[in-house]
């Protein structure tokens, strides 16, 4: 009886072949859907935040079904830092670039002077660019929040 209890305690919640296989199958599709939500934000409900959360959820799902190491194997801590900063830098950079090109901050139509697409098309495209930045940033921060809080800051074990 005691052995059984100990074994149950030792087992992580996701340690079941059904869950592992289905998660492994689902993760690529979840990520694809996340990308779709980011990219299709112009035409349907969605956008950077929503898509970023979905992308982040795919890594969190990996950590839930396997363990934190598997999740860290798919996205290293360093990649997380670089991508998160890159996301924020894309947004601020696009805004500043517009200001440096002679417009005002975040005035995407001013970017027309760099690549002539037409000011209105540039507004649409500028929104797309910042949504990508937002998606990257939100994904990394969601994953970082989960990793850190679930493992109490150790980034090695946890759920």
């Amino acid at each position: 009886m005691k052995r059984l209890q100990e074994r149950a305690l030792l087992r992580t919640p996701g340690e079941s072949p059904i869950i592992r296989t289905s998660v492994r199958l689902m993760v690529p599709f979840i990520q694809l859907f996340g990308l779709y939500v980011i990219v299709h934000g112009h035409y349907s409900p969605g956008g950077g935040f929503q898509g970023g959360v979905i992308l982040g959820a795919s890594f969190i799902l990996l950590a839930l079904a396997y363990d934190l190491k598997t999740s860290l194997h798919h996205m290293s801590e360093r990649a997380n830092a670089v991508l998160g900063n890159l996301g924020a830098a894309i947004f601020v950079g696009v805004g500043l670039l517009a200001a440096l090109c002679g417009g005002l901050l975040l005035d995407y139509s001013a970017l027309d002077r760099l690549i002539p697409l037409g000011p209105i098309e540039w507004r649409s495209f500028g929104i797309f660019l910042i949504e990508v930045g937002v998606g990257l940033g939100v994904m990394c921060m969601m994953v970082l929040l989960y990793w850190t809080i679930s493992s109490d800051g150790a980034l090695d074990e946890g759920l």
Partner: protein
Amino acid sequence: MTFVNLHIYVLLMPLLAALAVNVAGRFDRRWIAPLVLGALGFSLSGALLVLARVVQHGALRYTVGNWQPPYGIELVVDHFSALMLVLITLVALLASFAALKSVEQELPGREYLFFTLYLILITGLCGLVLTGDAFNLYVLLEITSITSYGLIAMGKGRAPLASFNYIIMGTIGACFYLLGVGYLYILTGTLNMADIARLLPALDAPFATATALAFMLVGLWVKMAFFPLHGWLPNAYCHAPTGAAVLAAPLMTKVTVYLMVRIILSMYGPAFVFDASAVQDGIVWVAAIAILCGSVMAFGQKDLRRMLTYIIVAEVGYMVGGIFLGTGTGMTGAILHIVNDALMTLCLFLAVAAIIYRQGSVSLVSLQGIYYRMPVTMAAFTLGAFAMIGIPPTCGFFSKWYLLLGGIEAGHWEYVIALLTSSLINAVLFFRIIELAYFGALADGAHHDHAPGERHEAPWWLVKPLVITAMLLIVVGLSTGPLVNNVIRLVLPAGF
């Protein structure tokens, strides 16, 4: 480089530096100091240029994204916000020297995280003073709050508990502010402050506008630790890492006072806010009580840093009271006091940081005979203490003078008495410390083996900014006239 976007560069440079610190500082911490100091130095020089341009050419309204103001977000660069921009970047630059050194000692290995949050906090504060949009103000308020929650929770011992209290109180404050904005949005359908100011007088909704104002003010009072709502502040600033306290203590409360002035002057207009004289009188009374309670509670503390946090609570009472006197002199005094108090608090906290760097504690017992060990630090501390008490020619005297005049003009004697009493209590408080620091070692024979004459100053990273701040206290005090005539007078609306 076009000058139209100058304040944007001032605002975003610390943010970019924060991203750079986060990446580069992670791999090699030698990158941190040049990035932080470079960005803040750039911001300070940019802010000075912005102020010079505003004084010369008048206020500037900037539309982000080139959209018409009620649709897009508007930034307002007028005399007041330019002045605050200079103040914030100046204080941040001076504080960052001390922060760089003390964080190295207190939080080894986590410096890049600390400075990422530190720089974003500065961006948030700069953004707060620039914005002309009620909802944008909420977002920036949350940026400054979240960064300071993180910075405070990095401390040791009770710091996480203090930080959690701050999170709960800060969120209540921010949510109340957001509720006020929501009420105004339902009533007017706009979020732009100037547009709200245009629509409010024509609105026939006295209950809802008053409710909205009440919620916004209470929300900001929680954030600025106005007396009955001040519970979170002493613990938070007392247990925070020294580097965080040096930045947050001078700036956070003052910027929130700025926001209150902004709401009163450019959103509601003084005519609306100072209409109900019973409420106004009540707030001045509460401010008087705040001043007295802050000072008395400061008197009971056994730790210098904790004592200073209670003095901050009293100073918030000065400013809120001065604003709600409803006279031009009182308002001038309050605005001048924002500037002066930021510098005075910075001076005292830098001195505390220097002492903590050397001996790890600033309990009153440990300050015995410290004059002999750290003469320069304590000289600057004395100057800061004089400014806090209000001894001319330090800047503290002039703003208190304006506040006193305003109180007498408005006939609010309770405020005048509270101010004078609090100055007296401050004098007793600080002379007690100065006495202890100067004569303590002579009286105490036990310390003689640890020769009191042995000089052991903190490194120049901590001492030089402190000396500069102490000089600034006198410089700003002596240039009160031009400051009031060229900048602060122009902040007040006509006929006020």
